[in-house]
Amino acid sequence: MNMIQAINSALDVMMARDPDIVVMGEDVGFFGGVFKATEHLQARYGKTRVFDTPITELGIIGVSVGMCAYGLRPVPEIQFADYIYPALDQLVSEAARLRYRSAGEFTAPMTIRSPFGGGIFGGQTHSQSPEAMFTHVAGLKTVIPSNPYDAKGLLIAAIEDNDPVVFFEPKRIYNGPFDGHYDRPVTPWAKHPAAVVPEDYYRIPLGKAAVVREGEAVTILCYGTMVHVAVGVVAEMGVDAEIIDLRTLVPLDIAAIEASVRKTGRVVVVHEATKTSGFGAELAALIQERCFYTLEAPIERVTGWDTPYPHSLEWAYFPGPVRLTQALEKILEA
């Protein structure tokens, strides 16, 4: 399966198991979503469980909160993560705090799926990585898969989770892993071990990172598309790096991070989002709080620049192999 199929399969499996799950969003019904992640679901589960919505992200999330109050488990789609901003109030002030403010009387067990990230020439309104904003909000969980197998297992766990989960899908890797070499042909998922995805139910717990590659020299913390960039660079450089795919940012697998940092003493954080107040800043702060004395070099951050995503220069914006290579060289020399 590719990533879209894996997501589709997770929705399918869960809808079959639990009649309270509803899928909604712009173009998700008859058409099956602009990226086809919800294809066939309406035909299978009917129009009252899978339906198109008006184009109002605020409405989509607000209505989902109300559906949760009734007892449903909505899985709304926001067509592009860039369009989650109109929904912010319902997400941040309502869904995220419902459990807290009602002392558990009401909860919002919804999973907001949204394609995010750049690398598809989407310009500044179809490319952003807003994950850090959501990690800043108490009460929201933030999940970002990096391959089909994880996408399915994590999405199932997110849907089963009783808290609101923002599930960001790196759209650049929907059809194949992408190592950041935009000028080389992309291999489809079929060639990748993570494309072997069971047809039925399984879950990957939220809050557990994956050690993609064990190593002693340096820890690379990454998620989403950047996992593949890291894997590619480490192979090319032949460095003995440990690559950790965080998979969920909140809850964060701090134990896995600490264990790795204590072993290697060096950390590079990679993400596509802008640098300032990006999630890398949080990781760097956590590490220095918890394992400062084991660090042998300052933590490096390889991130998108602090600018909007520029259409024609998107490959210069994308923190690709060149930049990660240099960061690794620098930290290994330090």
């Binding site: 008006p54 500044q124 024609s312």
Partner: protein, 423 residues
């Protein structure tokens, strides 16, 4: 059934709208009431919104089925002006066709046509003053063309090339042309709506004479921005024209998902106490007349107008979708309001100002004009030339007026990294 449901009551049902026709269906518009051309009255420009409620439900039409202009909304334009409008509509279509093909040839990443909707921007632009401010969505390229904006400049934007004044930052078709009174286009739907109202309020507060106009699709009327805009426009009687281009489809979702099963989009005006007009969007004269009416109303301090232009998106949503997957291919062909270019052409021929020969010559001329411009634009590069278009440092410009330390540092860092990597 959920626990605790009272069993002696009928179960509630959820209504989910469904379009009339899906792929493979035969299309029958027999129950679509166009109303007769010329039948709708033309209120005084300062008429109170509550005496014109019917205008939100009927359809203002000027051109009848024989191409004759009839009724009180006939704007009585000079033949030369009609032909000029026709020419700009044909130019818009030729421009779209050419750039659509350019995208298919891999010269740029994306394109969006406005085929079938040309009248809603060309005729509207003709009815506005050149210095009125437009807040368009991505389907109003016609406004720039009608305002005589350079085709080469527009194409350079589409190609993100060296000639692109926007420095290759925006997706294709997201133009910005302050000099042409054309506000920078956002990819986020409906955000331009309250902005247009803000411009109009500012103009009014300053005692200026310029008005503002906004455009959005019927799907976008569901966004909160649309409703905030209506509230402000109504409360402050902003000199603004709020255009809703009802082209029946929002990507794969038919207009029912924006509420069309229950009322019209023009009727949104009623709840806000605004003048609302529902207009045949494929009738260039009706579009002109309605826009002119709303502009005069705004200029007379009589308040905002919400206009629904009823039209049809004859092509796909963009280069990224395939409309045959969600709607009947017959819809376009059988659309009961015809094609706006064909209808205006028929009219100018009927009044003796035009003929088939001149029309064929014009079609050829606009294609040549577009082709010449395309050559000139492509000489400045295409997106497919990749990273060669704009100096890398431009990425850090215009984030702020003055570049703060962290961006200076990042700009330098990028430069150093590339140098070290030998690229």
């Amino acid at each position: 059934m959920a626990e605790g449901v009272r069993r002696n009551l009928p179960p509630l049902t959820l209504h989910v709208p469904e379009p009339k026709f899906r792929p493979g269906d035969a299309v029958d518009y027999a129950d679509f009431d166009r109303g007769a051309a010329g039948a709708v009255s033309r209120p005084a420009i300062d008429a109170s919104p509550d005496v014109m409620r019917d205008h939100a439900y009927s359809l203002v039409r000027v051109l009848d089925d024989d191409g004759k202009a009839v009724g009180p909304w006939d704007p009585r334009l000079e033949p030369e002006r009609l032909v000029a409008m026709l020419r700009h509509m044909a130019l818009t279509r030729a421009y779209d066709d050419r750039l659509y093909r350019a995208q298919r040839q891999g010269k740029t990443s994306f394109y969006m046509k406005c085929t079938g909707e040309e009248a809603t921007s060309i005729a509207a632009a003709y009815a506005l003053d050149r210095d009125d401010m437009c807040f368009p969505s991505y389907r109003q390229q016609g406004i720039l063309l009608a305002r005589g904006w350079s085709l080469v400049d527009m194409m350079c934007q589409v190609y993100s090339n060296r000639g692109d004044r926007l420095k290759g930052r925006q997706m294709p078709i997201m133009y910005s042309a302050r000099e042409a009174g054309f506000f920078s286009i956002s990819g986020n739907l409906a955000t331009q709506y309250p902005q247009a109202v803000g411009f109009a309020m500012a103009s009014a507060a300053k005692g200026d004479t310029r008005i503002a106009a906004a455009w959005c699709g019927e799907g976008s009327t569901a966004e909160g921005d649309f409703h905030s805009a209506c509230t402000f426009a109504s409360v402050y009687r902003a000199p603004v024209i709020l255009n809703v281009i009802n082209n029946q489809w929002a990507i794969s979702s038919f207009s029912g998902f924006a509420g069309a099963e229950n009322t019209t989009f023009a009727a949104r005006a009623i709840g806000y106490g605004m003048a609302g007009l529902r207009v045949d969007g494929n009738d260039a004269l009706a579009v002109y007349a309605a826009t002119e009416w709303a502009a005069e109303r705004a200029r007379a301090n009589a308040g905002p107008t919400l206009i629904e232009f009823f039209t049809y998106r004859a092509e796909g949503h963009s280069t990224s979708d395939d409309p045959t997957k969600y709607r009947s291919a017959e819809e376009n062909v059988k659309w009961p309001l015809g094609d706006p270019i064909a209808r205006l052409k028929e009219h100018v021929i009927a009044i003796g100002a035009w003929d088939e020969e001149r029309h064929a010559a014009m079609d050829k001329a606009v294609i040549d004009e577009v082709r010449t411009a395309q050559k000139e634009a492509e000489a400045m590069g295409i997106l497919a030339d990749g990273l060669l278009q704009h100096p890398f440092a431009t990425m850090f410009e215009d984030v702020f007026e003055e570049m703060p330390w962290h961006l200076k540092e990042q700009s330098q860092q990028m430069h150093d990294e590339r140098k070290k990597a030998g690229i």
